[in-house]
Subunit: 206 residues, 2 copies
Amino acid sequence: MNVREKKLAKDGYHHGDLRAGLIEATRRLVEEKGPEKFSVSEACRLAGVSTAAPYKHFKDKNDMLVAMVIDGMDRLRGNMIAACAPLPPGSPDRVSALGREYIDFAIREHGVFRLKFGGFTDELDDPRLEAAGDETFGVVLEEVAACLGVRDVTADVRRRGFILWSFVHGLSFLLADPKLSAMGGDVDLDALLAELAVRVLSDAPG
Amino acid sequence: MNVREKKLAKDGYHHGDLRAGLIEATRRLVEEKGPEKFSVSEACRLAGVSTAAPYKHFKDKNDMLVAMVIDGMDRLRGNMIAACAPLPPGSPDRVSALGREYIDFAIREHGVFRLKFGGFTDELDDPRLEAAGDETFGVVLEEVAACLGVRDVTADVRRRGFILWSFVHGLSFLLADPKLSAMGGDVDLDALLAELAVRVLSDAPG
DNA sequence: CCGCATAAGTTAGAGCGTCTAACATATATA
DNA sequence: TATATATGTTAGACGCTCTAACTTATGCGG
């Protein structure tokens, strides 16, 4: 059979890789209809299996969403690392590049972003997901430390990282929602991020 | 009958004010269990009516949530206006007070906040809700304009307001989630907001 | 290469939730 | 007082999640 194109539907009785197929179906549906409207049944239809099939691979609906979001977080972290790789180490440009990538992800994969950060934590509560988030924030903290010329993640590094994250996080939410982003008029995002990084990374430690 | 205490349950065949009772039940449940777990049935149980009763007052589940969130937005705007009323007009303190109130609301009424801003816009799409949001942002813009000594809401006012909002918005999300807020260590929120307001309102127009 | 344990599907159905239709009762007004 | 309307009720269709019991494919030891 043709392996070149990843398939969602199956050939015969067995699917091949239903777990991956369902994760992909979940991702598509979450992006198309939004996290709230996502249903396991629909993902099954997309994957071409019965509605009971997922439960051989996932504990429940939540577990399915968690698996998909973890995938997304890995993608986000990968993008972030790739984006600042070519830039000079220890420069604020690297930090703004991270922010830019974060915002782009929030816009491009809005459904995934909302699931991770929309305050669903109670629902989607899962140590694996939490770990994925910590790891991503760790990338930011490393860059912040480098900019400050510090070796380890001090309280000051953590504080500055958190402030940077807050701002970029808020921007992500507002920019990803057309109605809300319209309220700000035109914003030169790159300039804003550059200015932000320089300011937060050069001020006296608060 | 006793009118002093607003009731959720009814006395006889008719309820008295089921619409308000259901909105209150909705609010409680959304806060207790989270927006995702909210069900009309449970609100009915809380209000002591049959599961079909809400449909005499609301189009559907969404309409019920919208009504409840609009109530919340009115509360938020009221708090914001009240918080900056005693402060000297045109001072950045007024703007930080607005931000403080926004963050407090996000923490105190986290469920409502998530429904309005969690990116459910597609779902909860409703002109009344949008208007409530615009009106609240309008309060911010007025204060920003006053600080800048400008009469109307210019593009610069809008831009600065948007930046302030982004930051406070991001902080709200991170601080309202215990797991995420822990990542920032201890932050002196009031000092941060004060510094933010002064900076954004005194820099050269971008 | 066969037989069997197990992995990975299937169908059937319980149980809950949304929402509609048809009916019942209270309230308000002519 | 009669009646129209607003606001409740019950019954039930339909979709969703998830489990139980059954079926089919796969892979591995002899």
